[in-house]
Symmetry: C2
């Protein structure tokens, strides 16, 4: 049904060449946002002319980018065949997707199906109905090419909010896909702390553009917030606390709030400051509304809601929020001057990220990475981890290599030796995980680490005795050799003891060295349990059995 008119000679009546070319170029590179922007400033007649000019595939792509009201007006300018065809396409997009023949079972599938069929209009509608957090989740669950297309269908005014819910790697990538002016527009309505996060995640140049697009007052605030580490009270805070004086009455505060018309999101506290901006205490909104109107702020405020020093680590902030069930908290500088406030939503993100990080680091993975990153990129990242672990594997092999003569004489040793290493590894990783988590939660401290060691050693002796006897008997039954059984049992007992010691000591040492125990702990532990396990088993066998 190739009905596209060949380029005619009366080019003058056609859309300005530059616009058409720009649109065709943008269509080709999937920059749908730019296409929509260009279309918005064209006359419907010119759009119709352009539609007739394009081949079927490009025409449908362009049609997917015309909004509802533009669509209507453009249809009038089209020839009857094309009009019927495109109008039909639009009507189909209107039907809810669960009525189509192959109803997708989930939102993700619905989106992927719409993408596969090029039904970008329908996709745009689905995305429009979703909460920004859900859109972010969906984008993360899409492979890069589809993600790129879906992202291009997110309205600019919602794109900023979506960015704040994404993990670092994907956030940076998608922010860079936007034209700088769109990025600025998308982030104009964001809270300052979200904007700070974004600026920190972007390449310096783009981040600077964002910074300079802000109003002077905001830029100063942003710059001061950017001066604190991302993972500190300063990096977490927002510069929007409502401030009141201690000597005014509740009724005056209520009048002041009505003048403000709108409080910042998640406001549960008003901050009480003196004339010089020193933080004095906080007034709960829930107590302000129940107070007698003539009561003074000084009678109502809480002096025990302490200001968090701006340099406090994110970890400590999270602990404070959890311990005191805080919804928000004031942030102060070293002179107790109020700088801003931290809200619980950012703390929740921090907590989730922290625990996520431990889990991912245990497997040598980066928690902020895109799980659909290009295969080559992911391969390179994981190759490093495999390479590090190869050192472990080769040190184990080297130990075995020392006992080749023994193995030649008693091949049963080769059969049984993985059991020694495996039991040690499992037992050690239990101690390791316990200590890593205990350090994170504060259950393990200088004051009780020795008790913990004694317990872990006790447990490993009991379990070592139990399982070394069981395994020794099994191996005697298997190979009919009491000597092998005895050596095997002894090696397992020894290895479990070393595993407990190593699982206890490694995270403490790494922690003191400032290395994340979750990241490096298990590699080092496995090296220890492999080397000790093989050495003990083959060494004892060489001495006692040959």
């Amino acid at each position: 049904m190739k009905s596209s008119t060949p380029p005619s000679s009366d080019n003058a009546s056609h859309p300005s060449l530059s616009d058409s070319n720009a649109i065709i170029q943008a269509l080709g590179s999937g920059k749908n946002k730019r296409v929509r922007k260009l279309l918005a400033r064209m006359h419907p007649g010119k759009i119709a002319a352009l539609l007739e000019l394009l081949d079927t595939e490009q025409r449908l792509k362009l049609w997917q980018q015309t909004g509802p009201e533009l669509e209507e007006r453009t249809l009038h300018h089209l020839g009857p065949t094309l009009r019927a065809q495109l109008a039909g396409d639009s009507a189909e997009a209107m039907t809810p997707h669960d009525e189509t023949d192959s109803a997708p079972s989930s939102q993700l599938e619905a989106v992927r199906q719409a993408l596969a069929q090029g039904k970008l209009k329908r996709l745009g509608k689905v995305l429009h109905r979703m909460h920004p957090a859900k859109v972010a989740g969906l984008l993360e669950a899409l492979p890069p090419v589809e993600r790129h297309h879906a992202w291009s269908m997110v309205e600019t005014e919602r794109a900023g909010k979506v960015l704040t819910y994404l993990h670092d790697e994907i956030r940076t990538a998608l922010a860079r896909e936007l034209d700088p002016e769109d990025l600025i527009a998308a982030t104009a309505e964001l809270e300052l702390d979200d904007r700070v996060d974004l600026i920190q995640a972007l390449p310096a140049e783009l981040g600077n553009q964002l910074l300079h697009a802000s109003s002077t007052a905001q830029r100063q605030q942003l710059e001061s917030m950017l001066s604190y580490p991302e993972d500190s009270a300063g990096g977490l805070m927002n510069a929007d606390p409502i401030q009141v004086r201690a000597d005014v009455t509740a009724s005056a505060v209520l009048r002041y709030l009505r003048l403000l018309e709108r409080l910042p999101p998640q406001t549960d506290l008003l901050m009480v400051v003196d004339r010089k901006g020193h933080y004095q205490g906080a007034l709960r909104l829930s107590e302000l509304v129940t107070a007698e109107l003539e009561q003074r702020v000084s009678e109502l405020m809480h002096h025990d809601i302490a200001g968090i020093l701006v340099t406090t680590s994110g970890n400590q902030v999270a602990q404070l929020f959890q311990d005191h069930d805080l919804l928000s908290a004031p942030v102060v500088d070293e002179h107790n001057r109020l700088l801003g406030r931290i809200t619980v939503d950012d703390v929740i993100d921090l907590i989730r990220e922290d625990s996520d990080r431990a889990l991912m680091h245990m497997a040598g993975l980066n928690d902020e990475a895109d799980i659909f990153a290009p295969v080559l990129v992911s391969s390179r990242r994981r190759a490093v981890w495999l390479g590090i672990n190869l050192l472990t594997a080769f040190s184990a092999a080297w130990v075995i290599g020392l006992f080749q003569a023994t193995l030649e004489q008693l091949v049963a040793l080769a059969v049984l030796m993985p059991i020694v290493a495996s039991m040690g590894g499992i037992a050690g990783s239990q101690t390791l995980t316990l200590v890593i988590r205990g350090l994170a939660l504060g259950q393990v401290q200088k004051g009780n680490i020795r008790i913990l060691l004694n317990r872990e050693l006790g447990i490993s002796i009991l379990n070592g005795l139990l399982w070394s006897v069981v395994i020794a008997l099994l191996s005697v039954w298997w190979f009919g050799n009491w000597g092998i059984g005895a050596v095997l049992g002894a090696a397992i007992l020894l290895n479990l003891l070393c595993a407990a010691l190593a699982g206890w000591a490694i995270p403490l040492i790494l922690d003191r060295m400032g290395i994340d125990p979750a990241l490096a702990g298990s590699v080092i532990l496995t090296t220890v349990t492999d080397v000790v396990g093989f050495f003990a088993f083959l060494g004892l066998a060489t001495v006692l059995l040959l």
Copy 2:
């Protein structure tokens, strides 16, 4: 300095025998709370008589339990020697602990030092100054005997709050250490949701006692809350929402709130309900205070703050709070009647517990267990895990056993074979962790699992090629045998492919079977990578090299 008077004959002037005996018995079993209760109803003169009656050790123990005002009055009744001695002891307890000779470097050490020296008065003061959450953290960091003593020094009125911050196992144990009447007194002031948690954690009998000690109205609420699973919206909710009607004005609502005098903690929303209790929407406190006084609730309320169905899973509740940055949310039944509200502090606990659980389950540990549980108890728990892993180890050994003849001829194979299994295990655990986390975060769904598999296979091919060549060359250099190198490389490539497939499939299958992939995933994966690794390496060697 044994100056204790022997029991004299004028027993009549002594404290009633039953009280003294009860105190001596309570002292002996470390029930300090009971000691303090008994002391409180005795005359200071009788306390003095009892003090003189006891031997030095018991006397000091008893002295540690007399409160400041009782202390003063008891001193008057004592003989001069004893008075000087005990008064000196008290004065020492008053000095801040950082002035003593061996200043402890942390709170934990200070507490343990006080416990070791029997300075329970000082300990009581330290605990009194700490936030209940910190007390809970401290108790968790103490070994059981010291924990028991420290717990006995927590005031009854604070003990309830402390219990809510503890992990399940320790919470249950410490709640049972309290006398039932103390437990009831301690929990009387708790919010209902915290009381529900506690009742669920206690043995049925004790839980029932707690339930029946509540007022009738509270008991009905508690019973209805107890009827929902702990990990659901019903189990998380509190039955204390403030309810208002849609047709009243802001000023009427404010008047109503002032009548209430006090709002429940963490109130940021007022729930709008109709005459029959159907939930209609929510009014933000922060918008109520900025509204014009004559505006009606119907104009101010948000219809888009949806009620959470009471049967919603905890996981989904957490996701809702995170996605929408909620501080609290209404809970409704299937007829949309308002039942209660969930506050963000409970959601934070849920989030932390969830991530904690994944980390601990990966190592076969229970996240709610006491890390200072008796060695025998912990050993038994871990023994199960080691036993399960033994199956893995023996299946690997069994595979090697199939190739004993091969190993006898080429002992170099025994040296290199752990490398194959190790590389497979590492690569597989990366895929496994990625999928487990992806499932938890919703990044991995039915709609994209195949793409993920393709990526993981792609990564394993690239890394397999890279590392199999490296390892093959290293082994050729080591053993000077090209055949062994080739077989080793091929086996590693094969094992990495299987590892990716297994790491991808295992969590999906377990998830569908309703088994926590974090708990069982790594054992099954290791079995696969060990068996495949050894089989591929030794099998190829048997076919190609002999």
